[in-house]
Symmetry: C2
């Protein structure tokens, strides 16, 4: 699927006049994103989804950005998306993940197309909302300054997420990278048990190692009773301090 | 030097009323930043430096962020700054560089202190302008919406710069990393000869290799007539296509 195919579909409304938002719609929500995994940065956009075109894409669908100049940005209301660089031969590498409650292609929008955009792969059945490519930053401001502020906030969170991922991937040994990442997960959730948002294989791809390597590392951490479990829906960390220590030991 | 020591110094003015900017003050200037090297994202802030406290710091000075809650952000008018993570023992690693015409600590400002800020090292005599920590996003909007837009733009550029650095640092061999980076430099400058903004040693630190390794790679590229020179002030790339090819070959 190509973005240009979606662009002909009209949004539900074009009412850019000033709106009132409920108090709980914060432009600066608590930080939930992890290195390379962006989530819950932008629930405020739920208040303006009538200005967007809803797009449902099923698991496995690829979405290729093929519009020059003005690239529309999306809000991911439900689902999970992988965003990838591709090399000349179409091989995917350096993935990162976008989970629900986040903007997509906002950096491309904010730089007026100076940043080349990358294809998206739906990892789950996903519900995206595409804002019109004719909508400007000034339009966004006119609807509510909090939207503009949240866009800047979302970018700041991505800065953090990508710079931390770069930092983790500087460690040569896969074991270090896995331990540091698991400790970051613990740190963000502030709790020993949480939903990881990514599978072991997805994490392996992001941390630049084979999924068997990742599986072996998790098994070792389980044997040493540092990690309790790591399934698709639940991770439990038993010894966070030990995990950090192992991560930094070269 | 600590940020808290600077905070008592008042700004020149506190006039947050709406201003007119000259036409050339674009909120979205042409992209000049490189992976891990941020520059010229924000010249628009030159129009509001009276709202900031000027701070001159000489080469070698460290600036440590020690203010909780609201971290002031800075505009770097002149000079060059390295921003570092530090490990438990104070060892610096994973640097990136900020060159003149850029904001510093804007991500910390935008996330209301949810992102821990890192120390700065002046690599040259630098002229920073510290905006008051009492200044809010709404104040910035009231002065000129372009300032808010530029703040979002600056963040988007940093996203790109950090995610590309993460991408380059996924290559295990130092030779790949150096070639890809040099090709990115060529790509951004759109010219074979340019000022690099960083020295060979600074680049080595950023790409996670010893400076001798970097020097050897540059020598090899010179011998093969792919790179003409790499001094502090001038880099010339003779064979960009070959550089890219070598960079991607594993």
């Amino acid at each position: 699927m190509f973005v240009s195919e979606l662009i002909s579909r009209p949004p539900l409304s074009r009412d850019y006049s000033r709106r009132t938002f409920p108090d709980h719609a914060s432009p600066c929500p608590p930080l939930r994103s992890l290195p390379g995994i962006i989530c819950h940065t932008s629930t405020i956009w739920e208040n303006v989804l009538d200005l967007a075109t809803p797009v449902r894409l099923s698991k496995g669908t690829m979405l290729y950005p093929d519009t020059k100049d003005r690239q529309p940005f999306f809000y991911l209301k439900k689902g999970k998306v992988r965003i990838n660089k591709m090399d000349e031969e179409g091989k995917e590498f350096y993935p990162h993940y976008i989970l629900s409650g986040s903007l997509i292609y906002d950096a491309f929008f904010l730089t007026c197309g100076q940043i080349p955009s990358m294809p998206l792969k739906m990892l789950e059945d996903s519900e995206l909302h595409m804002f019109p490519s004719s909508m400007s930053f000034e339009d966004i401001l006119s609807i509510h300054p909090h939207l503009a502020r949240n866009m800047a906030y979302s970018q700041a969170v991505k800065d953090l997420a990508y710079s931390r991922l770069a930092c983790i991937n500087m460690y040569v040994k896969p074991f270090n990278r896995a331990c540091i990442f698991l400790h970051e997960m613990y740190d963000i959730h502030r709790h020993g048990t949480f939903e990881p948002g990514v599978t072991q294989s997805e994490l392996a791809m992001m941390l630049n190692m084979h999924k068997v390597t990742m599986a072996n590392i998790i098994s070792q951490l389980k044997r040493e009773k540092i990690v309790g479990q790591f399934t698709k829906t639940k991770v439990s960390i038993l010894e966070p301090a030990r995990l950090k220590e192992l991560g930094l030991k070269e």
